[in-house]
């Protein structure tokens, strides 16, 4: 047996050890040599404050009553942590970026740095955590009593009230010493984190040691242990699916929303990568903590006398087996669970109370004090008072409830209370449309229902709510019975409360958010929170203000401390390219300063303080819109630039094409000139030569007559060429006078064939026509059209190389157009030449045979264009074929 005094001594020694460790770590940390202190393992172990004395001792009792259901309390957090990529990662990133100090600060910051929401969340947290803290006091007191009653000598301090008072005072001193030593801009307490990491190891080792002892020494190994479990009265357990799922979800919500869990997970996080390790290491810790719960419960029920409290099996089992050392370890484990939870919960709550309740009131009472008063001292003092206050509340609650069994249920009741924050929290980081009004409504409705359906009834019938209210509802309205709201009677009371409070919470939150319009700061914060991974900390809240840098420095010194503030100001001045300690009150600087101050006094308070100094509260809606339209303008501008550039590219391409065309035209023109001079020169040469011969006197008259005839012929040819050229230039200029009248196709073909009669004279040419089809009347210039047909027919006569030449004239009417095909049965025109034939002076064969100037088809093309039609070579007709297309009614040229 262990003497009670030895137990107290061990306890004190343990606490002293923690003191020294925390102190040493703070010293090391001050010297910036705390490398391993910030490892992911320390982070993971610090998360273990989730396992309080309630779980250390109570899990076994829970298992003894409801079998495996106790595991749901650990399964929820396991799901949250293995799903860290969804929520935790984002929470931690936001927490680091926004210098969040608590869950109340998180909600308040997200919804426009609203002081009101901060107060609401703080109140919910205090209301649910205070009974929880008194539960820890109770468990420590109970475990003390176990030893006291086991030791033969009656202890002088066996009064629960005295023990718990000492525990509460001791915890308050420890917490004040290490929790409020300084005001860190990120609200991190390395010393305390290390201390609770050590406590985490102690409680894990203690529970595992007891478990091993139970399984291997008492139970005889794993196999026999399983048999014992199967044979125990617990073996046939039942499960309520609603409770199973509901409790898992509830504990998942709690691990995110419990103030102490938020504190260690988000606020004390020093490196986002630690989360990756914690994602599996923390569930592993939870699994290890629950691994031996069932064996301990089974063995306890087997070995301990009937009626002993299963909540204390972890302690009483080793004691009854005479293992004093093991029992001592188990006691220290439970003590660690209770103290670490109380310390962190108190710090978290005190931070919230001081930042969201005390500081705003203080600022309201004396606004000038923000500039002149000793802010730092006030903040620290309000922290210390809050720590004392929270622990005092817990102690008072413990005394009032008399350490009754009502406390046992308080763990889950606290879970439901903090779970009310979940919709506002998750909605805030995933939904930009969530507004302050929605969050306030959701929190209000949810917490009201929690109080009505769960908290008040938990004090027992008659305590707050009378038995008649419980049975028949207030004023006899059955629908409002606390355990059967709206007639829902099928649910377990806890799940009933979870269901209704969270459902109506979410509905109120969504409705409120959808129906209200957020303020400018709120909208800026919404963007910063929801899009935290997009980089950039959202919009700047400060325009270039009128703040006096010196006044800012004084305030900053009072909150951050002289050295830290001076260092920050100097750094900022340097960044702005200025020497000294006073940077310009630029928006970036003010934003950064506000963040730093928020790390000490919370976002809402920091915002209020800077507003007083900077003269202007914050951005207005107009500013936001201006920023938005500015960037919209920039986007528009760049879009314009892009389209202009595309336009320029198009123009450049067009110019290049035009240039190529011009170059081609210039080449064509040169070619044309050389062609024409050649064409003119040939007849001129012979005219000159023969006229020179004529000038010689002794020429016989018959020769003279022949020569003058040649000269005459050549002159005619020259005239014809010049006529054609003239014709062509007139046509090309579009200056031709058209003589438009009504004429039938038949007439035109008759005239053309009559005109080419002379060319056909020597040869037998078969001309095929269709008189029916030719009865089409056209409104066009008949003479010009005849000229085209003559040209085509004479070309066909001239070039057709078939033995029995045939000529087909096919007329068709299609839509408003008439086509006339002139087809012969010769060898046609080779494909590569087809593109050339309409060019001037284009001749396929040598000139002598053709006898023309090579302008005929060029003229035809020009005529057709002037008549509003076209002429084209028609391939694949078994000979040379040309198609003339022209409108039925020629349109007047514009």
């Amino acid at each position: 047996m262990i003497p009670f005094s030895l137990l107290v001594l061990a306890c004190l020694a343990y606490v002293l050890f923690l003191f020294l460790v925390a102190f040493w770590v703070e010293r090391r940390n001050a010297n910036r040599t705390a490398g391993w202190l910030r490892s992911p393992w320390v982070y993971t172990l610090s998360l273990s404050i989730y396992c309080t004395a309630w779980t250390f001792f109570g899990a076994v009792g829970y298992a003894a009553r409801s079998g495996l259901e106790f595991a749901t309390i650990y399964m929820g957090p396991t799901l949250v942590f293995i799903g860290w990529w969804w929520v935790l990662r984002k929470l931690v990133r936001i927490g680091r970026q926004q210098h969040i100090t608590s869950i109340a600060d998180m909600v308040s910051s997200r919804y426009g740095k609203s002081p009101f929401l901060g107060v609401v969340v703080t109140l919910i947290c205090v209301a649910s955590a205070t009974p929880y803290i008194s539960l820890q006091l109770q468990s420590v007191t109970l475990s003390f009593q176990v030893f006291a009653s086991a030791s033969a000598v009656a202890s002088p301090v066996n009064d629960p009230a005295v023990i718990s008072l000492w525990v509460a005072v001791g915890l308050a001193v420890f917490t004040i010493l290490f929790g409020t030593r300084n005001l860190d801009s990120r609200e991190q307490h390395t010393g305390i984190v290390i201390a609770i990491a050590i406590e985490a190891v102690v409680k894990l080792v203690a529970l595992l040691a007891v478990g091993m002892f139970v399984v291997f020494t008492l139970g005889g190994g794993i196999g026999p242990m399983l048999d014992r479990i199967a044979a125990s009265p617990m073996a046939g357990w039942e499960v309520d699916p609603a409770r199973w799922i509901g409790l898992t979800g509830l504990s998942a919500a709690a691990v995110l929303c419990l103030p102490r869990m938020f504190h260690v997970t988000v606020v004390e996080n020093t490196d986002e990568n630690h989360l990756a390790t914690a994602s599996w290491a923390f569930p592993l810790y939870l699994m290890a903590m629950s691994l031996f719960v069932i064996p301990i419960a089974v063995m306890g029920m087997e070995l301990m006398p009937r009626g002993s409290n299963p909540d204390l099996f972890v302690l009483t089992l080793p004691l009854s087996e005479g293992r004093g050392g093991l029992a001592m370890l188990a006691f220290l484990g439970g003590f660690s669970s209770a103290t670490s939870m109380v310390i962190v919960a108190t710090i978290a709550l005190a931070t919230m109370v001081s930042n969201h309740i005390v500081m705003p009131i203080w600022l309201r009472l004396g606004p000038r004090a923000a500039v002149t008063g000793d802010v730092r001292g006030v903040v620290l003092m309000s922290r210390r008072m809050s720590i004392g206050g929270v622990l005092g509340l817990g102690y008072a609650y413990f005394l009032l409830s008399g350490g009754s069994s009502a406390l046992a249920a308080i763990g889950l009741i606290a879970f439901v209370g903090v779970a009310q924050i979940l919709p506002a929290l998750l909605g805030g980081i995933y939904w930009r449309g969530a507004t302050r009004m929605g969050a306030a409504l959701g929190l209000g409705v949810g917490s009201a229902l929690w109080v009505y359906c769960l908290l008040l009834p938990s004090f027992g019938p008659g305590a707050v709510l009378s038995a008649s209210v419980m049975a028949e509802g207030p004023f006899g309205i059955g629908w409002l019975r606390p355990y059967a709201l709206f007639g829902v009677i099928g649910l377990d009371p806890l799940i009933h409360a979870v269901f209704w409070s969270l459902t109506l919470n979410i509905i109120a939150f969504c409705l409120g958010s959808v129906l209200t319009f957020p303020g400018p700061v709120e909208r800026a914060q919404a963007v910063a929170f929801v899009n935290v991974f997009d980089g950039g900390a959202g919009l700047q809240g400060w325009s270039k203000g009128t703040a006096d840098p010196e006044a800012l420095l004084i305030t900053a010194q009072r909150i951050l401390g002289d050295e830290a503030a001076l260092g920050y100001f100097q750094e900022q001045a340097k960044a702005q390219g200025k020497g000294g300690y006073l940077p310009d009150p630029a928006p970036e600087f003010l934003d950064g300063l506000e963040m730093r101050l928020a790390g000490s006094v919370g976002a809402a308070t920091a915002h209020a303080m800077l507003s007083q100094l900077a003269g202007r509260a914050a951005v207005s809606v107009e500013d936001l819109i201006a920023v938005a339209s500015e960037s919209a303008q920039m986007m528009e501008h760049s879009a314009q630039l892009e389209s202009q550039q595309a336009e320029l590219t198009r123009t450049a391409r067009a110019l290049r094409e035009a240039n190529e065309k011009l170059t081609q035209l210039s080449v064509q023109k040169d070619g044309f000139l050389s062609q024409i001079s050649h064409e003119l020169r040939t007849p001129m040469t012979s005219i000159r030569a023969f006229s020179e011969m004529l000038m010689e006197q002794d020429l016989p008259p018959d020769q003279a007559a022949r020569f003058s005839e040649i000269i005459h012929t050549e002159a005619i040819r020259l005239t014809r060429l010049l006529d054609a050229l003239l014709d062509l230039s007139v046509l090309e200029a579009g200056a031709v006078q058209l003589n438009v009248g009504l004429v039938s196709v038949q007439t035109i073909l008759d005239r053309a064939l009559a005109a080419t009669e002379a060319g056909r004279a020597g040869r037998q040419v078969v001309v095929t026509r269709d008189a029916e089809a030719e009865q089409i009347f056209l409104r066009t210039d008949a003479d010009r059209l005849v000229q085209v047909v003559i040209n085509l027919v004479s070309n066909a006569l001239k070039y057709c190389d078939a033995l029995l030449p045939e000529l087909r004239l096919v007329v068709r009417q299609k839509g408003g157009h008439v086509t006339l095909d002139v087809v012969d049965n010769g060898s046609g025109i080779p494909k590569e030449k087809q593109a050339l034939i309409f060019e001037k002076f284009a001749r396929l064969t040598d000139q002598t045979r053709a006898g023309g100037a090579g302008l005929g088809l060029a003229i035809c093309r020009e005529i057709m264009e002037n008549l509003g039609g076209s002429i084209a070579y028609l391939p694949g007709q078994g000979g040379a074929a040309f198609r003339v297309t022209l409108p039925l009614r020629m349109k007047k040229p514009a």
Binding site: L226, W237, E238, D240, A276
Partner: protein, 93 residues
Amino acid sequence: MATRRLRPMFVAKRSYRLRRLRDGARMLPFLGAFLYVLPLLWVPTGQTRDLARDAVYLFLAWGVLIGLTALIAARLRAAGNDADDPASAEDAE
């Protein structure tokens, strides 16, 4: 403001693996929820259950989840440290 950035339609194999790894990390809680709910279906509601069997199953499932998470977390860390995919930030949404 929605700054619409052009994202490549296809990424290199490395980035592709990294993204699927993230998808895996996102799926884990659903697998966990499934594994935890499954025993409810073994026995009709209201009937007695076998505690030993349920406990062994639950801890096995727990262990599998932890192992998978550790595997993915380690690989995510290794990949995230030397090759930060530019799209890594916004694909959280």
